[in-house]
């Protein structure tokens, strides 16, 4: 199976073959791979150099590589083929999502309002702090999906902005 991996802004092709053989950017790589914590941490020795990679979070994929923080994505060849057709459609709708679970203290806009980028849209209380959620871009408020006083989960869509 072939994969396209991104590590921050670097792109790497990985192919997993049989018997633990694999290639990186089409070059065969000899490595000893040990899973030190199941599904979470690997000790990998390559050309006499030992590396330790720990999964910080799975979704989105975030790795600790020898003490360096790296954002990663992995796409396999099937997904890669499927994606090529669908990519590139722009909806013109931008969703403001709750970045963390918390209590929605206030919503400062209503449907139909026009907002500029970085305008405060709502106040979310989490971890004993009030966080002003700002408009990711300018536009018209198309939908307000949450009400003040509600508990919201991380990722919940709070407000939809239609870009103009």
């Amino acid at each position: 199976m072939r994969y396209e991996v991104t590590l921050d802004d670097r792109r790497v092709r990985v192919e997993l073959g049989d018997h633990g053989r694999f290639t990186v950017d089409d070059r065969a790589v000899a490595a000893s791979v040990r899973e030190t914590v199941r599904g979470r941490q690997w000790s990998i020795t390559l050309a006499g150099e030992s590396h330790e990679i720990t999964v910080v979070t799975h979704d989105p994929l975030r790795l600790d590589v020898d003490g360096n923080d790296v954002r990663a994505t992995v796409i396999d060849e099937r997904a890669l083929r499927a994606n090529r057709g669908a990519a590139g459609t722009r909806t013109g709708r931008i969703e403001l999502r709750a970045p963390m679970p918390g209590l929605l203290k206030a919503v400062h806009v209503k449907e139909g309002d026009h907002v500029v980028a970085d305008a405060p849209l709502a106040t979310l209380e989490a971890m004993k702090m009030e966080n002003e959620l700002l408009a990711p871009s300018a536009g018209r408020i198309a939908k307000v999906r949450a009400t003040a006083g509600a508990k919201v989960e991380a990722g919940a869509v709070l407000i939809v902005i239609a870009s103009e």
Partner: protein, 452 residues
């Protein structure tokens, strides 16, 4: 709970129903046969009503008495006290109740100004306002946070001091009027007025300034009839002028660095003082040697504007070795809740000098691993190599100027290994089967500890 000899449930996770439920805590103390209550450094440590309720219940509160907490807890009253004690304060107002009054006061003082809760300190609810059109949004957020944190919406305005360092002085006072200072901590590396790195001695603090700050802190403590451990906070401007900020009437999160350089156990001394014993040493006996740094590892993502994160800890490896101390409650299986501060662990490094402390801290941070939530580790690791930190020329703007976008330089080998691990991690996730835990994760972690 793992480290405790006995544990009593005080209520569900919401602070109002557990840590802020004074009656319940006192009842548990009675039931357990405890004669004193140490409030830690959280919700109850600066709550005068709690201190009073503890005393009225016939128990000992480990900390300053309620009257002292009330006096210093009202931040504008504390500023008046500092002026009487001949300690300089930054230009500021009395408590304000509405945004119109704030607008007038801010215009008089001149922007930028700080909005601060009158009812309590520690940086909660504090907002920097750079220009007038930011005032209303800032006021709304700050007054809401002040109400949540301290139960009082009142704010006051203080002139913002640029390029300032946040320097605080540790004091100890017994019940017979002895007051000593133990040394300063530079806590300038802050974000949203929450500290992320502290160190002692302050790299910018010479002997002269240290003596002055110590003497000023003792004057304030005497004027307030202070008892037990406390911290007097100052801002020190680029011109070395200092201004009183506030008194934290509790043990602070960063107290271990003072313990490392003085060899004193501050919690033990707190208990002795609370038990009525006099201080076992005088000012001249306090000897500081070496340097210590603390990094507060938090569940915040430094590459996403330090956004707090929640989740379940999957794996922890804490650093160790000479001069390294870790104060933490982390264990695999622990849920990082949203109800409390995002602090996960404190890593403290001691060295014979600052250079050795930095070297040990770098090594400790490199060794540490946390899996399950994004943490501030990436920030701390890079900060300890940042030229401004290494040379000691940093101020409270340090994090603002820190560039979160810098991607780490990986060697060719590390890149290959990381790419392979990324694929393996993605595949492992697809076929993962997790067994249901047999018992509470903290109980399992305790058993694993015992087996080591």
């Amino acid at each position: 709970m793992r480290a405790a000899d006995a544990a009593y449930a005080i209520g569900p996770a919401a602070p109002r129903e557990s840590y802020l439920n004074a009656a319940r805590i006192i009842e548990v103390a009675r039931r357990s046969g405890a004669t004193a209550i140490h409030p830690g450094y959280g919700f109850l440590s600066e709550n005068a009503d709690f201190a009073q309720a503890v005393a009225e219940a016939g128990l000992v509160f480990v900390g300053p008495p309620a009257a002292v907490q009330r006096l210093l807890g009202e931040k504008t009253a504390a500023r008046r006290l500092a002026r009487v004690a001949e300690v300089p304060v930054a230009e500021g107002t009395e408590p304000l109740t509405d945004v119109a009054a704030a607008r007038v006061a801010a215009a008089n003082i001149g922007y930028p100004v700080l909005l601060k809760p009158a009812g309590g300190g520690g940086g909660k609810g504090m907002r920097m306002v750079r220009k007038e059109d930011e005032l209303e949004t800032a006021w709304r957020a700050a007054t809401g946070e002040a109400t949540t944190a301290f139960g009082q919406p009142a704010l006051y305005i203080e002139r913002a001091i640029w390029n300032a360092r946040h320097i605080e002085m540790q004091i100890l006072a017994d019940n017979t009027g002895n007051v000593v200072w133990l040394g300063e901590r530079d806590c300038s590396v802050q974000r949203r007025h929450q500290k992320l790195i502290e160190e002692t001695p302050g790299p910018s603090v010479g002997d002269g300034l240290r003596q002055e700050l110590g003497a000023a802190a003792v004057r304030i403590a005497r004027a307030a009839k202070y008892e037990n451990a406390g911290t007097v906070e100052f801002l020190v401007g680029g011109d070395r002028h200092f201004y009183f900020l506030e008194v934290n009437t509790r043990l602070q999160v960063e107290h271990p660095i003072t313990e490392m350089v003085t060899g004193l156990d501050l919690v033990a001394l707190q208990l002795r003082i609370a038990g009525g014993e006099p201080l076992p040493f005088a000012q001249a006996d306090v000897v500081r040697s070496g340097a210590a740094i603390e990094c507060r590892i938090t569940a915040e993502d430094p590459r996403a504007g330090f956004l707090p994160a929640s989740g379940v800890i999957a794996l922890v490896r804490e650093p160790a070795g000479p001069g390294v101390r870790v104060d933490s409650a982390l264990y695999a299986g622990m849920t990082v809740p949203t109800e409390y501060d995002p602090l996960l662990a404190k890593v403290i490094a001691y060295g014979r000098d600052r250079i050795e402390a930095i070297a040990r801290m770098r090594r400790a941070l490199e060794e540490m691993r946390v899996s399950g939530v994004p943490t501030s580790l990436a920030f701390h690791r890079s900060a300890l190599f940042h030229q401004d930190f290494v040379t000691g020329r940093y101020d409270t703007g340090f994090i603002e100027h820190w560039d979160a976008r810098i991607a780490p330089e990986l060697s060719a080998g590390a890149t290959s290994a990381a790419a392979l691990a990324a694929v393996l991690a993605t595949r492992a996730r697809g076929e993962r089967h997790t067994l249901p835990p047999a018992d509470a994760p903290w109980a399992r972690a305790a058993r694993e500890d015992a087996l080591r």
